[in-house]
């Protein structure tokens, strides 16, 4: 077996090496000046599965060190966007950079910076927790001298030290998620990409997963890009969120910015009813023209009016979910999320094995 059968990837790697140091200096990025301090930078990202335009022109920048939430209903295109950023899918249109590295041209360099936890539970059920993490240590070239200690620390960081030598098929869903987190952390990624990390988990397991993420982030200063359906989670844990719907980003900002912007808009536009905001604005809310007419004019959300007092509380404070209903408009409840989406989500909730 000679390395000559991997020509394509080899030159790709060689290219990575030469670009590794220099990319920041003279990156010949086309239009927008790529800021290497951005952990992720997407410009005009599009991806279509046949006729389905899963990602339809996404502009996004995730700042280094922040927890960035990508929110959206089933089929919004979150996973597809994530898979473009992780180099799993080619980027047919637009540009994606991870810490200044182009995902199309410097795949290996990008992958070395990433820790990725996919939407479905993906540990190898036939291996122990420790072996699962060790595989990723090997594959990221952790030296033999450091390997055992590093794996031990990754397992400890997610609270799996005691279960480390059990087969992963005996783990609960929450433990598998934490094991996957350890797999992603063992290579000291600068960007952690989590696709629905808490889906299908009970509230305690959800909190536990987030606590571990936050503890490691506090220690390492890594950037976290997370997708979720759970608006409350995003509100609580994310520095900034982007609301995605039908392949587009409909609103972007800190949770507080988005909520106060909605409050301002509601005040100016005399929205009737919808009294108990958090109380489900039933699907029949389409009967309120004000509500469903406003949606697509989401641009003001990107630069929310600073006049809006950031002090929450006061009158019926809107939740992030209300913001989402507002920007996504009607059709959020039943129409979106075809069978395939729901099925994939449910599969996620299953155990591995």
């Amino acid at each position: 077996m000679t390395p000559d059968e991997i020509p394509e990837e080899n030159c790709e790697e060689a290219a990575d090496e030469t670009l590794g140091g220099a990319s920041r200096a003279g990156a010949p990025g086309p239009a927008p000046a790529p800021d290497a301090s951005d952990a992720v930078l997407c410009r005009g990202l599009r991806y279509a599965f046949g006729e389905t335009r899963a990602v339809d022109g996404v502009d996004l920048s995730v700042r280094a060190g922040e927890v960035f939430g990508l929110l959206g209903p089933n089929g919004a295109g979150k996973t597809t966007a994530i898979r473009c950023i992780t180099t799993l899918l080619p980027v047919p249109a637009g540009m994606v950079r991870v810490f200044g590295h182009d995902t199309a041209k410097e795949r290996m360099a990008v992958r070395r910076l990433l820790g990725y936890v996919p939407q479905q539970l993906s540990a190898d059920a036939g291996l122990t927790g420790r072996e699962n993490v060790t595989l990723f240590a090997r594959v990221f070239d952790v030296s033999r001298r450091e390997r055992a200690a590093r794996v031990e620390q990754a397992l400890a960081a997610v609270g799996l030290t005691d279960a480390a030598d059990r087969l992963a098929k005996t783990y609960s869903g929450g433990m598998i998620r934490r094991l996957e987190l350890a797999q992603a952390l063992v290579s000291a990624p600068r960007l952690l990409m989590l696709d629905e990390p808490t889906i299908g988990l009970d509230p305690i397991a959800r909190t536990s997963v987030w606590d571990h993420i936050n503890a490691v982030r506090a220690a390492t200063g890594m950037t976290v890009l997370v997708t979720t359906h759970y608006m409350d989670e995003a509100d609580q844990y994310c520095d900034r969120v982007a609301l995605m719907h039908h392949g587009r980003i409909r609103a972007l900002g800190t949770p507080d910015e988005l909520k106060s912007a909605l409050r301002v808009r509601r005040r100016t536009a005399p929205a009737p009813a919808t009294t108990g905001t958090s109380a489900h604005p039933s699907p029949a809310s389409t009967s309120h023209p004000h509500f469903s007419a406003s949606p697509l004019s989401s641009s003001p959300l990107s630069s929310p009016p600073s006049s809006a007092a950031p002090s929450r509380s006061s009158d019926a404070a809107p939740t992030l979910e209300d913001v989402f209903r507002d920007v996504a408009g009607s059709g959020l409840d039943e129409q979106s999320g075809d069978f395939r989406d729901v099925r994939s989500t449910r599969r996620t909730a299953h155990r591995v094995g």
């Binding site: 790697e13 992780t86 087969l167 936050n214 220690a219």
Partner: protein
């Protein structure tokens, strides 16, 4: 606020487990580069395979049943009726290398089917986001299949020895056997990974896998010499890498006349071609 990574939103932190020491997780490992990547990834995949075998040996045992029956029933019977011209060797001896190759091939083809399972389970997806070139990933899987087949081959060799097959114990020849088994399995696992990259679903691949294993077995010199085959079958047999693997195994284990140089050349070429084909289609599985 987003600039300050030191301030996680939950002040509660994680008292119970305590994140403990994280110092090693602060610095990324030093990247291997160039040719060193390939052997490192192959080793990683082979280690995983051995670990899995250590945890669950049932497949090893269940897969030993068929070769044992072939040797016991088919081998013993045909030894007695002397229907197949083997040039003086007892038929069961003649058959043993063929059965070793066959059971290795079955393992390898099934191993390729596993890659679809791993794709569906998200395991492959995650490996594809590591700094592993596709060809290195496929080569790793191919040699891991070889390792698994090798363990199986040892079982079959032991069974054959128990049935009284006279085989060599010359370590150099046995090393040659190891290489032949690993290369052959690498090819057949790549064959099934290539088909996986074309048909994309497990059900279809299962069907195709079932459909091709027996023809590959029968259209080779595993059961009978090429000389007694009809012309068209001889042609198929010369294109079948399994024939070269069996030829090498027979030559090494029994000391019969073999074309070792040609055998190894074909096996190496087949494995390399298989790795190239499977890795060029791997992207389809990732999508």
């Amino acid at each position: 606020m987003s600039e300050a990574p030191a301030a996680p939103h939950t002040a509660s932190a994680d008292a119970r487990h305590g994140a403990g020491q994280l110092d090693l997780l602060l610095a990324p490992p030093r990247a291997r580069t160039g040719w060193r990547v390939l052997p490192a990834r192959v080793l990683a995949m082979c280690v995983v395979e051995l670990q899995k075998l250590r945890h669950d040996r049932t497949e090893l045992y269940t897969r030993a049943v068929q070769p044992a029956l072939w040797l016991l029933v088919f081998g013993e019977t045909f030894t007695r009726i002397k229907a197949i011209p083997t040039g003086g060797t007892p038929y069961i001896d003649y058959l043993a290398p063929g059965i070793i190759a066959q059971s290795a091939m079955f393992i390898a083809i099934f191993y390729g089917i596993m890659i679809i399972w791993e794709r569906d389970a998200g395991i492959l997806t995650k490996l594809l986001v590591t700094p592993t070139p596709r060809a290195a990933l496929i080569a790793g899987k191919a040699f891991a299949a070889g390792v698994k087949a090798l363990v199986q081959a040892v079982v079959v060799i032991v069974i054959a020895a128990l049935l009284g097959v006279a085989m060599t114990w010359n370590p150099l020849r046995l090393l040659g056997v190891v290489v032949a088994v690993v290369l052959g399995s690498a090819f057949f696992s790549c064959l099934s990974m290539t088909i996986a990259g074309i048909v994309l679903t497990r059900d279809r691949l299962m069907g195709i896998g079932q459909a091709i294993t027996m023809p590959l077995f029968f259209a080779s010199n595993a059961l009978y010499p090429v000389a007694i085959m009809p012309g068209w079958l001889q042609t198929v047999s010369t294109m079948n890498p399994l024939s070269y693997q069996v030829d090498a195994l027979r030559g090494l284990l029994l000391g019969t006349h073999a074309h070792l140089a040609l055998d190894y050349a074909v096996l190496i070429a087949a494995a390399v071609a298989g790795i190239a084909a499977a890795s060029s289609l791997l992207g389809r599985l990732a999508r």
